[in-house]
Amino acid sequence: MVDAGTRRRRWTRRRLVGLLYLAPALLVYLAFAIWPAIHTVYLSFLHWDGILPATWAGLSNYTDVFTDSTLGPALWHAVVLILFFAVIPCGFGLLMTALLQGGVRGMTTYRVIFFLPQVLPLVAVGITWRWLYNEDGLVNHGLSAVGLGGLTRAWLGDYDFALIALGLIGTWAMSGLCMVLFLAGVQKVDASLYEAVALDGGGPVRKFFAVTLPALRGEITIASVITTIAALASFDLVFVTTNGGPANRTTVPGLLVYRLAFNESDIGRASALAVVLTLVVIVFVTAIRLATREKA
């Protein structure tokens, strides 16, 4: 017989061993993700230029952030980008899944082609699209070729269309990710469910709404969360394509954080804005998770 004390000791030791296995990853995570995040919150309460001794700022960085006239438009642009980075790609991904799920010939090729944008660094994507959107880039050549020469313009420099042009780059980059996630998801659906729908006289549309869509709930949640974060926290794509221009029509919060920290050496305000951005992301992600939660 083993008495209770020995059992507890064994149990404690096993837990310690478990922690030991966890330690390397945990330490890296704490040092490079958790600690910087906490430190950013701390910095957001300071006035600090990076060199001179920091002074306590209280909430003044936050009041600055909220009274700054550039924040409102930047947040709005990020919300518009959600449409292009998250809503359209998820819709497109679902459509492609519905079309491809029957086992189309050359499936792997499709998957590779659509997933390719995910593999490319966004900086390279941005530079390539800058060429495509150029005054004599491929997009304008295409428009001219089909008789729409009157529409041609330098898209990323256009006051009204720059944000949309930027968003479409995101659509291009994100659609493949959604599609691959969804295609992987439908693999696990029991084929008998589709048979059941067919026996009831349901066609492909019915199959999609009755079986595929509910089965993909988890994948849709993940895809929306990833792409929404990408939209709200976008920086690199904007930085290399428009840098917020023309006339601040494509500024996003991430770009403002960068400018505050590195152009203006205002670490406190940059951190405050970063904290606000994080909270916005959390709000959106929570909303998505609540909206897609399975009713108990």
Binding site: H39, L52, Y133, G157, I229, F235, T242, R259, A274
Partner: protein, 429 residues
């Protein structure tokens, strides 16, 4: 992906915080200043980003002082401006660092770079360095007002903003007045060529406004504003006229409609490819433009309103500061002093810049002769003024976005200037 970039930003902020808080609190000045240099072998380190001219200047200096070795550490510009402040604040900073006002101003109140006034007196730098080139490197103790106070860097090569023209597209000789230039623009436009290439995505846009303001505005008012003199304003008649001129030129079709999507390098490429007749930029581009266009290109300063008015043009310098932690301040100062020598002048000119010592004899032909001749005019009139983004830390963003508003016909000259003044007041007010 994007979440990664946030994590990276957070990590950078952390890195910033890890090495900081070492600055003192009051400006530093060297003691024991002397022209007598050691005869022992010494090694100085030099952090810089602009090359040319830095390495060639170092080589020329070492040839003259064989016992002094200067070890260069070059960093690409965008990284330089982010890291130099930290490396100057570290316990082993470089002895000499290329000066960047935006990135390094806070080193002045922190006492991390020397006030060079004692050396200025010792070496009589007023002789050999154009007064305007030193003025812009002066700052008061809390680095809020410039053009006055201590001297924190010394120029090692100069540059000036002007107009490059394609000799086969811009028919007539360089214009003598602004009105004459506008006639030429109209003629070029009529001939079917868009007169300007313009990099509105980056700095090209506001440099056009800047060049016009140099011509149309009051030089003193402009200087006061850039230097942060209390009460100064950019909402002046001259600045308004300059902005209106930009708007007029857009309406007249002198500026390509794609300007806001065009980077400076693309604008330059368009110009050298013969897509436009004019390009406004500095002589730092002279080397590349000259190579691409040979003798088909010339250079003039944007002409004044009336022929014979004193020349005014924006210019900048590649300048060097001395760390207050250096063990060899006298040797470092000798390197700075070397910048006004005839040997340095040759290096500066040969590497595409304007020589610091304007009296040094220069022989050149073609584009380089054009630039040297025009530059001499401005220096003689003491008309080199700093660039407007010098005025406050986020001015460059206001300038870029504001000119983009003008170029896309979405904002008025008044709105543009109000936004600039707002940034100025936030920092200096």
């Amino acid at each position: 992906m994007r979440t990664k970039s946030i994590a990276a930003a957070a990590a950078l902020v952390l890195a910033l915080s890890a090495c900081a808080e070492s600055g003192g609190g009051s400006p530093a000045a060297p003691s024991d200043v002397s022209k007598d240099l050691t005869t022992e072998p010494v090694t100085l380190t030099l952090a810089y980003t602009d090359d040319p001219p830095t390495q060639a200047l170092v080589d020329a200096f070492q040839a003259k002082h064989p016992n002094i070795t200067i070890k260069g550490q070059q960093t690409p510009f965008s990284d330089y401006v982010k890291s130099i402040k930290l490396s100057m604040a570290s316990s082993t900073p470089p002895d000499i660092a290329e000066y960047n006002p935006g990135a390094m101003r806070s080193l002045v109140p922190a006492g991390l770079i020397y006030d060079l006034t004692p050396y200025e007196k010792l070496y009589a730098w007023g002789d050999g360095f154009p007064a305007s080139s030193l003025e812009v490197l002066r700052s008061n103790k809390d680095a809020k007002q410039y053009g006055t106070g201590g001297l924190y860097a010394v120029p090692g090569a100069l540059s000036v903003l002007g107009v490059y023209y394609n000799k086969s597209l811009a028919t007539s000789p360089p214009p003598a007045t602004l009105a004459e230039f506008e006639q030429q623009l109209a003629a070029v436009k009529k001939g079917g060529t868009t007169p300007f290439s313009l990099g509105g995505l980056q700095v090209g846009g506001f440099q056009l406004w800047n060049a016009l303001y140099n011509v149309l505005g009051d030089e003193g008012q402009y200087r006061d504003w850039v230097y942060g003199k209390p009460g100064a304003t950019i909402e002046t008649d001259g600045a308004k006229q300059a902005a209106r001129k930009v708007v007029d030129w857009v309406a007249a079709g002198y500026i390509p409609s794609s300007a806001n999507a065009t980077a400076d390098s693309d604008a330059q490429a368009n110009f050298t490819a013969g897509k436009s007749a004019y390009l406004i930029t500095g002589n730092w581009a002279a080397d590349a433009i000259g190579k691409a266009m040979g003798d088909k290109v010339g250079f003039f300063l944007l002409p004044q309103v009336a022929a014979g008015d004193a020349a005014v043009a924006s210019g900048a310098s590649v300048a060097y500061s001395i760390s207050s932690k250096t063990k060899h301040p006298n040797e470092a100062a000798a390197f700075l002093d070397f910048m006004r020598s005839a040997e340095a002048a040759k290096v500066q000119f040969d590497t595409g810049f304007m020589p610091v010592n304007n009296d040094a004899a220069i022989t050149a032909t073609g584009l380089r002769a054009d630039i040297a001749g025009e530059f001499k005019k401005v220096v003689a009139a003491d008309g080199i003024v700093p660039f407007p983004d010098f005025a406050s830390p986020n001015m460059i963003d206001r300038l870029t976005a504001g000119t983009q508003g003008l170029l896309s016909k979405q904002s008025t000259p008044e709105q543009f200037l109000t936004s600039l003044q707002e940034s100025w007041t936030q920092y200096h007010g």
